[in-house]
Symmetry: C2
Subunit: 148 residues, 2 copies
DNA sequence: GCCAAAATCACCCAAAAGTGTGACGACATT
DNA sequence: AATGTCGTCACACTTTTGGGTGATTTTGGC
């Protein structure tokens, strides 16, 4: 801002000096006043426009644009909810694999445990979720924010 | 735009007239030139700023702010994909109810058909999706954009 | 080291789900 | 009239799932 003021003074001074000089050269010219005023007007109009632009250069308008984003990108399983329901980490792990469409046998193979173990885990997680079937468990898991 | 030019000329003319008039009144004043130039400078600076603002009044920078919106709100089942997979409307209906965690018996009751009918529909939809279990059918249905 | 929670596994039984085949009627297309 | 799709249903059979009970081992905290 200070630079602007200084610049203004400088330009004004230069202009006056130039005019002083031209005054001598065109002293007797009839319309020197009009030329003089015109030059000043043009110069300061340009300066004014530039200055005005500087002042308003930062004007921004914030437009809120809603963008659909797949929720899976930002999904994080709600651990607090899980604990509130009393679901253990292992049980939750089985629930996730069930949600991926795996059978008890497949889950058992993947986790290196017996099929019976998977059954007990799934039975317990169904109880805690209040589900009667695995499909319902998946649905409830989603509603509780445990699954994407 | 034409109005602006006319206005400029008008203001310039008025200024010159005023100066002419003041010229007579302060003819002998030592620094009339400086006053004269200063007045012109101030006037046209103001005009320039105003003009500059006029020119840039509509120049707004649009800042896009992205907001995450749950995709579930705007979900619509992909009918084209459904047809591409050869899944009939009825079969799809059963798939939706399966995804909601309903048993075959419950679905049969809801749709007023026999349990066997539900079984055949579900078997066919599993074939078309390439699923071996209903949980897997739900998972694949989501991946295909058929289910939310 | 003790205790509680968690994880593991087995067995039996019942229910649900899934497979395969066949069939019938309605409806649209050819 | 013949064909094809869709929706409906039945029956037999296999597989999967779920419930209940009981037991052992592992683990983490006190």
């Amino acid at each position: 801002m200070k630079r602007h003021v200084l610049l203004y003074g400088l330009v004004g001074g230069i202009l006056i000096a130039v005019l002083k000089w031209t005054e001598y050269r065109f002293l007797v010219i009839e319309h020197s006043l009009e030329i003089y005023g015109g030059l000043t007007a043009v110069t300061f109009t340009v300066l004014g426009i530039w200055f005005g632009l500087k002042l308003t250069a930062t004007k921004e308008r914030v437009v809120v644009k809603e963008v659909l984003v797949p929720a899976s990108e930002t999904f994080a399983p709600d651990q607090r909810k899980r604990e509130k329901l009393g679901i253990t980490p292992r049980e939750f792990e089985i629930l996730e694999l069930i949600a991926q469409g795996m059978s008890n046998r497949e889950i058992a193979g993947k986790l290196y445990v017996s099929e019976n173990t998977v059954k007990t885990h799934s039975s317990r997680v169904f109880d805690k979720l209040g589900a009667k079937r695995r499909t319902q468990a998946v649905q409830l898991g989603k509603e509780f924010g445990l699954l994407p």
